[in-house]
Symmetry: C2
Amino acid sequence: MGKQGEKMQSEVLAVLCRHRGPLSAYAVLEELRQSNPKIAPTTIYRALTALTERGRVHRLESLKAFIACQCDRHQHASILSICGDCGAVEESIAPDLLKELSGIAGKSGFAPMRHVIEIHGLCVSCGTGEGAA
Amino acid sequence: MGKQGEKMQSEVLAVLCRHRGPLSAYAVLEELRQSNPKIAPTTIYRALTALTERGRVHRLESLKAFIACQCDRHQHASILSICGDCGAVEESIAPDLLKELSGIAGKSGFAPMRHVIEIHGLCVSCGTGEGAA
DNA sequence: TGTGTTACGTTATATTATAACGTAAGAAAG
DNA sequence: CTTTCTTACGTTATAATATAACGTAACACA
């Protein structure tokens, strides 16, 4: 590490970590603009792309949002459970299941490279009949 | 069936079926505008939403695109394999795997309602070293 | 200190998606 | 058949998300 681009990436990551939930790229932008008003979307997207490639951040495709990786040192293919009520996101890992999934997709010769697995539903707090949040 | 909204939905579905691959909402719009220049994005999105709810169309979240459901009479939770080279999308169903997935997400009390499973990789034609386009 | 690479700043624009509101078409009841 | 209700549509406008292009500055490495 210590390469170029570290600074912006760590600032973006810090913002995502402070909020414990998903943020849109523009929400991150807003926040960083408070200390540096000149930042442009491009810069944020660059940092987010790099962080995503490094596995430090996940992109929630179905929400158009980003969240800091909740697992230590996890590189690929997490399962993201998204509460439709309070917005909480929980991350799970299941290597066996990923293998199965790859097997199913691969049965016709398909070679999997990246998995997007997002589950929308209700978290335990919201599902029991109480509005949490 | 036979309810209101059928016509627009069937036109949109027809477009998606003609192309065998994913199309953006605006691509569908372009195409339908050739016969009816006055159509607006709103209309297309309305139809796409309805079709998606009815399970006739899948939204590829990670591509911001839509594709006609390839299975007969399939309502929910397909596995979509997306070739990053030629763009082909193949649909699989694996109820067992979905149950497992729900189980994993649900281990902390999460109640799954909708699954988004998209696998990016290379299809058999593109993976063997030949550009199949 | 020179040289190459990489991310950044900046500007502009493309792409995707929704809000709001009046209207017209179709369904259901009388 | 006509009234009434619902629902999707047309229309306008705009919001939200994302990328292109290009010059520059910072850093790495020799």
